[in-house]
C-alpha cells in the first residue's frame, strides 16, 4: 500500500508542467526529486534550477493542487538544494521535446532548432528565463533560445 501511494503521488506530481517551460514536466526537467510517504500522506521534494528561479512558488502550488486532485492528503512540498540541479538530468525525451519547441537542448554542438545547421553563435548568455541563452543561426539567421549547460 505504501509503495502504491508513493507511485500514485509520484505520477500526479510528475505530470505537473514547468510554468516557464510548459513543454516539459517538472519530472522531465529534474525539478521533482523525490516523493516520500508520511503516514497517510506524502512529502514531495523539489529543487530549483537556479537560486532565484521565480517559478518555485508556482510549482509548489501546482504540485499541491495536483496531489489534492488525486485525493492524496495531507501532502507537503519541500524545497531541497542538494544535490544542486544540473542540466545533465534532462533525459533524451526531454531533449527531443525542447528541440521540437524551438529550444536547443543543452550540451555539445548547439544546432539550430529551426534549420538544423550546426553553425550557430552566442548572442547573450542570459535569455528569457534563467536557464536559457540566446543564440543565432549563421545559416538561416534566425535567433533562438538554447537551454544552458548548468
Amino acid at each position: 500500500m505504501v509503495s502504491d501511494l508513493r507511485a500514485r503521488a509520484w505520477e500526479a506530481a510528475a505530470a505537473v508542467p514547468d510554468p516557464e517551460l510548459p513543454v516539459l514536466t517538472i519530472a522531465e526537467l529534474g525539478v521533482l526529486r523525490d516523493v516520500r510517504v508520511e503516514g497517510a500522506g506524502v512529502e514531495v521534494l523539489i529543487t530549483p534550477t537556479y537560486s532565484g528561479c521565480p517559478a518555485m512558488a508556482m510549482i509548489a502550488l501546482d504540485v499541491q493542487a495536483a496531489l489534492d486532485r488525486a485525493g492524496i492528503v495531507p501532502a507537503r512540498v519541500r524545497m531541497v538544494l542538494s544535490p544542486a540541479w544540473t542540466s545533465d538530468w534532462l533525459g533524451a525525451a526531454a531533449r527531443e521535446k525542447l528541440a521540437a519547441a524551438g529550444i536547443a537542448p543543452p550540451g555539445g554542438a548547439v544546432a539550430c532548432p529551426r534549420c538544423g545547421s550546426g553553425e550557430t553563435e552566442l548572442l547573450s548568455a542570459f535569455g528569457s528565463t534563467a536557464c536559457k541563452a540566446i543564440r543565432r543561426c549563421r545559416a538561416c539567421r534566425e535567433p533562438f533560445d538554447a537551454f544552458k549547460c548548468h
Binding site: S51, G52, V80, L81, P83, S124, A125, F126, I134
Partner: protein, 228 residues
C-alpha cells in the same frame, strides 16, 4: 540582496535588450542567493530584507555604490564577481551543510556573472577612447572598496576557524590574478592600493545605502503585512 537590487535598477534602462535581460537575470540570481541565506538565518526572510535599517545591514560597501554609468555598474559587478565566484566555490566545502548546499548552486551562477562582467569590461576598456576613459574612471573610483572583501573581523575569523566560512586570505591571490588578467586584456591600469574603505561589515555604510533601502523597503514599511 543589495547588489541584486542595484542591478534591478537597470530594468527598463539598459543600453540594449540583451543587456536588459542579462542584468535582470543576474539580479534574480543574486536576490535568490540572498533569499536562501536569509532562510538559513531565520524564519522570516521578509523581515531581514524589508525591516532592517541600514545600520543592521552587513553588506560590503562595494555593492551598495550607486550604478553610475554602465561602466561603473559593470566594473562593480566584475570586482565583486571575481571575488564571489571562487568564494562560493570554497564555500561548497563549508562544514555547515546548509551553506554548502547554497554554495553548490551559487557557484554555478557566479561563474556566468564573472564571465559576463569580464567580457564587458574588456569590450569597454579596449573599445573607444570614451568607453576606455569611463571604464578606467569606474575601476579607479571603486578600487578603494575592494579591500573590504578580504578584511577579517572577529566573527569572520571564528567562521574560518570552524571551517564554516572560507579562508579569505587564501582567496586573495586568485582574485588578484583574475583582476590582473581582465584589466590587462581591457588595456586598463590596475589602480595602486591606497586607503581602503571599510565599515559595511559592521553596519557603518556609505551615504548611498539608506536611500536605496528607502526605495526597496517602501511598500512593506508603508503597508505592514501587505501581500503582493
Amino acid at each position: 540582496l543589495v547588489l541584486g537590487h542595484r542591478l534591478s535598477e537597470w530594468c527598463g534602462r539598459a543600453p540594449m535588450l540583451e543587456e536588459e535581460l542579462a542584468l535582470a537575470n543576474i539580479a534574480l540570481d543574486l536576490i535568490g542567493q540572498a533569499r536562501l541565506l536569509y532562510a538559513q538565518a531565520g524564519p522570516d526572510e521578509d523581515a531581514l530584507a524589508y525591516l532592517r535599517d541600514d545600520r543592521a545591514y552587513r553588506n560590503l560597501l562595494l555593492v551598495e555604490q550607486p550604478n553610475g554609468d554602465f561602466a561603473h555598474s559593470i566594473a562593480r559587478l566584475f570586482l565583486y564577481a571575481a571575488f564571489a565566484d571562487p568564494w562560493w566555490r570554497a564555500m561548497t566545502r563549508s562544514s555547515d551543510p546548509g551553506l554548502a548546499a547554497i554554495a553548490g548552486k551559487a557557484e554555478k551562477e557566479t561563474a556566468y556573472h564573472l564571465r559576463h562582467a569580464g567580457d564587458w569590461l574588456v569590450r569597454l576598456g579596449d573599445g573607444t577612447a570614451e568607453s576606455h576613459a569611463r571604464a578606467q574612471a569606474a575601476v579607479d573610483a571603486l578600487w578603494p572598496y575592494t579591500g573590504e572583501m578580504f578584511a577579517v573581523d572577529a566573527a569572520e575569523q571564528a567562521m574560518i576557524d570552524a571551517a564554516i566560512g572560507a579562508d579569505l586570505a587564501a582567496l586573495r591571490p586568485g582574485w588578484e590574478a583574475t583582476v590582473a588578467r581582465v584589466l590587462a586584456e581591457a588595456t586598463l591600469a590596475r589602480p595602486a592600493d591606497g586607503w581602503m574603505q571599510r565599515g559595511g561589515r559592521s553596519g557603518a555604510h556609505s551615504e548611498h545605502l539608506g536611500p536605496m533601502l528607502a526605495v526597496m523597503q517602501h511598500l512593506p514599511r508603508s503597508h505592514p503585512g501587505a501581500k503582493w
